[in-house]
Subunit: 422 residues, 2 copies
Amino acid sequence: MAIANSSLEPFVRSSRDAARELSRSGTAARDRALEEMARSIAEARERILSANRADVEAARREDKPPAFIDRLLLDEGRVEGMAKAVRDVARLPDPLGEVTERWTRPNGLRVEKVRIPLGVILMIYEARPNVTSDAAALCLKSGNAVILRGGSEAQRTNQAIREALRQGIARAGLPEASVQLVPTADREAMLELLRMDGLIDLCIPRGGEGLIRFVAEHARIPVVKHYKGVCHVYVHQAADLEKAERILLNAKTQRPGVCNAAECLLVDREVADRFLPRAGAALASRKVELRACPTGAALLERAGVPARLAAPGDYGREFLDLILAIRVVRDLDQALEHIARYGSEHTEAIVTEDRAAAERFTREVTASAVMVNASTRFNDGSELGLGAEIGISTSRLHAFGPMGLRELTAQKYVVHGDGQVR
Amino acid sequence: MAIANSSLEPFVRSSRDAARELSRSGTAARDRALEEMARSIAEARERILSANRADVEAARREDKPPAFIDRLLLDEGRVEGMAKAVRDVARLPDPLGEVTERWTRPNGLRVEKVRIPLGVILMIYEARPNVTSDAAALCLKSGNAVILRGGSEAQRTNQAIREALRQGIARAGLPEASVQLVPTADREAMLELLRMDGLIDLCIPRGGEGLIRFVAEHARIPVVKHYKGVCHVYVHQAADLEKAERILLNAKTQRPGVCNAAECLLVDREVADRFLPRAGAALASRKVELRACPTGAALLERAGVPARLAAPGDYGREFLDLILAIRVVRDLDQALEHIARYGSEHTEAIVTEDRAAAERFTREVTASAVMVNASTRFNDGSELGLGAEIGISTSRLHAFGPMGLRELTAQKYVVHGDGQVR
């Protein structure tokens, strides 16, 4: 395909060459490269930490919020965690070459579907430096070349990590361009990459709403979005209220800053007076701010649990914080309507002992994961048993939910015949 | 997601409402609608044919080429064929609700992957009116609403077909907006639709290079491309030359105007002098024009087979006609290089009795289908056993190769627990 001349084209072409070489490489070579990458990270610990100190100081000078600094900050434990994560990926089964289905046609043709790499993946993300090594490991394992574009605030850290990865890859004899870091953090360069249809096969953006929108708006290459999670826990009238409380507390408080944390509780009117005061008190004791509908707020108030009235914008909002929207609903129908209107197709949970209600909820709710009597926090590659994940897709196309190694592959048909013609 | 106000928004929102209703509909309701759609097409035969006569006359007045007129033209047999194709789709198994995998986690969570519809599909195509009913049937069967945007030259025919489909759907009690035709054929309307990220879930363009490029350039919604097929038949030195000739003749001449027809023959030097004169004569007798490399042209000339020298642009070109490019290659390596450079990742075939060569070819060639000792013409949903297809994807993401009913679905995770938390 025709691509306009541009400064980044040779850079991307070297990724394509690397991808071609990777697609022909064997399992052993890729796994060895991963082991070497892990070793390199461990060996480069001092250099990585010193680069990170410079990034963190700059971010502090720019008065970035503490949560931002925390995401950016590395220490010895986190660097060791990065190396371990790369080693863990090495030990996962190789997805490439897997025959996912095979059948024989009446004319004798033997048809197989075989996993192959996607090609060149552009990963766009924000402050967390561990994404650099995680994404590099998952892409290399699945035979893809990756172009990493991290946040500008982590540029020094990411360069130090990439340099370590490069050395590891080189020691294993695979192409160094298998993992590349965009040399500049400016938006123009990102725009240029997003337009390289035919050279880059997939873009995975991970980060805040603004970033995802920017990518969706400008990309001419395929994008699998990792968008926000506005996850609901719905306590049905036939719920075991003890389970419901345990699930709600976990979904809201175990790690409130992530996309599979709950943002809104829906509770059936019939059980609201028994459930809300108790669960509300437990949430309040963990410093969760409650923003409820008038009915819910009245119930909480009567029980002496601090709550305020929800503003209209509180439904459908991703707080990523110790805040919970609450709505008392009439029944399953109203809960389904609420979720269809305000949900983000990420994760939705029902708590109920009524099979028919659970069945209807799982059938009618569109979300990458629908949970029955389990925390929304289980929508995670490792928790669902896929191994490590590169993120959680909220696009229905190609991959919906956690993207593990398999979701970083395509499948081609391989057909064996004996001279068949039509 | 925020969508600018626009004239087509209410039209698309009615498709979204229909999609929601379809996603909850049962197998029986959708199959009944398909049977009614087939009946309606048969009943509306006269109206469809008369609309088609008007389109064909207009196309003749505009001096459209005969091949174009032939694609546009309907007769009684073709209309009956359309009705039958819809009925055949009704009888395929329902992809929705299929549990494609299930497993249990150590903590007792039961995980399932379940097929669901994609949502609203925008189908953009050119002159063939049967695509209108075929696409409508496949989308409705898989629970998707479809917005059809056919070529302006077939607008009257498509309106008559859509009206018949609408009546059938209404008789079965499903929403009429399940199948909609874009009310205007102008490019502005198409542009508006291509920008409706968040309202349209997938665009499938099918047609010439210009159309596909236009869509890829302007779409902000996900696109699965159905791009050109530059398919090679590679005759390896260990080929059974009789099989090779049969496969080549079939791949080139059985239906030269389609994307899985062969456009280029690669033949190993070692067997070229035995293979080319015989196969060349057979091709020439079927009126195939041969455009060969100097070595190949000399061999053909010596055998008295008419051939001309290939121009550089003849490699990598989709002739869609009785023209074949020919190149004599040194060995498998050179054939692989040629295909990597000139192929379109559509369909590639090797003819060989050497297992190792076949194995290497199937491993190293990236194409939606790789054939060993079989015609390229088998890269087709029905021939591969998927049932009807909506087209052949040359995008690696989501679907690679023929898109049947399954490829019109997504998969969500459904997780059953008993109160599990993290």
